[in-house]
């Protein structure tokens, strides 16, 4: 099933055959080089010379206070907007616009309310003129996000968590190599958020996807990320680059290792945020 995902990725990539042979797709390699950004209407830089790299299949969290430029950075990674200076390089190619090979997911699911679950999930394939794949791929991705019985429902008749799952299925249908998530779970209740955090990480790992996740929730970063970049505000800079070394079981929480990582990251974050953890959501 996942081999098929790998074979049909739209993007040329040398490692794909390898990954496919092992029954796994290969995620994109992402490099950000000297990226700075200033908005026309405001003075000063929002992002100041960022340099980092994300390995194929790695889950990276961008952690930072509100307004530090996380969404701005993610838009540049997706090609929805372009940086004032510097480059985003994916699989060796400079990003100049959106592509089917990487997909962004937003805080609101933004589904099309006149369509069913399956029609929403099929959109990327339709836009890519790959409609012939809809019949096989859409059921696959709906299965992946646990929504198979809901395929023909109108999306307005779903809960918020289910809607976000549809948005995830929609993002996965074109078999992207990278997912960019902008606080995708922040509007959900704690239980739904937990289960989505676990499922999205599991899916990304099964598919070998590279993932960049924007959050201001320390526990979300600890649960989901292999590595965390803590961003400074005004201008946005990388203050800290730290790995989260936890096994999948430990990420469920409730163990000493998880708590230790959580406290460690919280301390880093608090320090970077100038001792003001007030906008911190925690559970």
């Amino acid at each position: 099933m996942f081999a098929r995902f790998a074979n049909t990725t739209a993007f040329p990539q040398p490692a794909a055959q390898d990954g496919a042979a092992r029954g796994r797709a290969t995620g994109a390699h992402l490099a950000v080089m000297g990226l700075s950004h200033a908005y026309k209407k405001i003075d000063g830089l929002v992002l100041d010379s960022l340099d980092f790299e994300v390995q194929p299949g790695e889950v990276l969290a961008l952690l930072g206070r509100s307004g530090c430029g996380k969404s701005t950075l993610l838009h540049m990674l997706s090609g929805l907007s372009l940086p004032s200076a510097g480059e985003v390089v994916i699989n060796g190619n400079t990003v100049r616009g959106p592509s089917q090979a990487w997909v962004m997911m937003f805080q609101a699911p933004s589904l099309y309310p006149w369509m069913s679950v399956a029609q929403n999930a099929a959109l990327g394939l339709r836009f890519a003129r790959r409609s012939s794949e809809i019949a096989t791929r859409v059921p696959e991705v709906l299965e992946l996000v646990d929504l198979s019985p809901y395929a023909d429902r109108n999306v307005q008749d779903l809960s918020g968590g289910q809607q976000q799952r549809v948005a995830l299925a929609r993002s996965l249908a074109t078999a992207p190599e990278m997912l960019l998530l902008d606080e995708p779970f922040s509007a959900l209740d704690a239980f739904t958020r937990r289960s989505l955090q676990r499922d999205v990480r599991a899916i990304a790992r099964r598919l070998g996807l590279t993932m960049v996740l924007v959050t201001h929730d320390v526990s979300e970063a600890v649960r989901m990320a292999d590595r965390v970049l803590v961003l400074d505000a005004n201008p946005g800079r990388i203050a800290e680059d730290t790995a989260i070394a936890l096994t999948e079981e430990q990420r469920e929480g409730g163990c000493e290792r998880f708590n230790a990582e959580h406290i460690r990251l919280m301390e880093i974050y608090t320090e970077v945020a100038h001792g003001d953890p007030s906008d911190q959501t925690d559970d």
């Binding site: 959106p98 959109l123 836009f127």
Partner: protein, 277 residues
């Protein structure tokens, strides 16, 4: 996956069904009563006219003579002969109005500068009765038909244009961003996102426009043409056949009502907004 107990759901469904049936029966009863009231007023009016020595010549306008004249034109097929040209003119005019109003409405909804540029001129033009253009239309067009279609288009374009523009402005910007992110090209954007999103706004505009067009049609058909419902009215007046005149008036009302109901049904069909149950 919330599990609503089956029995609970069935009961709720059954209750809802009974309630909606009751509401529908009440609606039908009220509609019937409304028609009866209208007929009653008409009949009273006929009586009053017949008893008035200054007006008794118009007494054939009363329900009895009118309805038998109506039956006459239905049987002779004259009702078809007079309706088809009118429907053709209105359809043609509406088509032109939609072909202009929808694209321009979308452009105005999407481009703030265009909205600012056109706002005053369009609001100004909109307030001019389409019939004011009649002398110009008559000069500008070789045929009477052309002039009538022009007048109908002028009347119908504004509701379609403004309703479309308002619909476009209400589109969730995230829908456009997501589509772009998923690789939509401008044509996809238009046909997969924008048009379905505003289908109801467009149809609502068309419905309003049709109401105006149907009203403008009859006086427009007083112009030189020798066919159509407006002509039939004029002709009946000239021949002092007030029963016939009444019959045509009824036909105009029925067709207008049917067209409006058809559009209302279409709007219901394309409406994706969930009624908050």
């Amino acid at each position: 996956m919330t599990a609503i107990p089956d029995t609970a759901r069935r009961n709720a469904g059954a209750g809802g069904f009974r309630l909606s049936q009751l509401a529908r029966a009440r609606g039908l009863a009220h509609a019937g009563l409304g028609i009866a009231l209208l007929m009653g007023l008409w009949w009273l009016g006929g009586r009053a006219v017949a008893n008035n020595p200054n007006m008794f010549a118009f007494a054939d306008f009363a329900p009895g003579p009118t309805l038998s004249a109506l039956w006459g034109i239905v049987q002779s097929g004259a009702v078809i002969d007079m309706s088809v040209p009118s429907l053709y003119r209105v359809g043609y005019g509406m088509l032109i109005a939609a072909a202009l109003g929808i694209p321009v409405g979308i452009a105005i909804g999407r481009l703030p500068w265009l909205r600012e540029l056109t706002n005053v001129p369009f609001q100004f033009l909109r307030m001019i009765s389409p019939l004011s253009w009649m002398p110009i239309a008559v000069m500008a067009y070789d045929t009477w038909d052309g002039a009538i279609v022009f007048l109908i288009s002028v009347a119908a374009v504004w509701p379609i244009l403004f309703s479309t523009a308002a619909g476009v402005r209400r589109i969730d910007p995230a829908w456009l961003k997501v589509a772009r992110n998923l690789g939509a090209n401008p044509l996809h954007m238009l046909f997969v996102v924008i048009l379905p999103a505003i289908a109801v706004d467009i149809l609502t505009g068309v419905r309003l426009a049709l109401g105006v067009a149907w009203v403008v049609l009859v006086p427009a058909e007083y112009l030189g043409v020798t066919s159509g419902l407006g002509y039939a009215i004029n002709d009946a007046r000239d021949t002092l056949d007030y029963a016939q005149l009444g019959a045509v008036v009824v036909v105009i009302g029925i067709i207008g009502f049917a067209l409006d109901s058809g559009l209302a049904a279409l709007i219901k069909r394309f409406n994706w907004v969930r009624a908050s149950a």
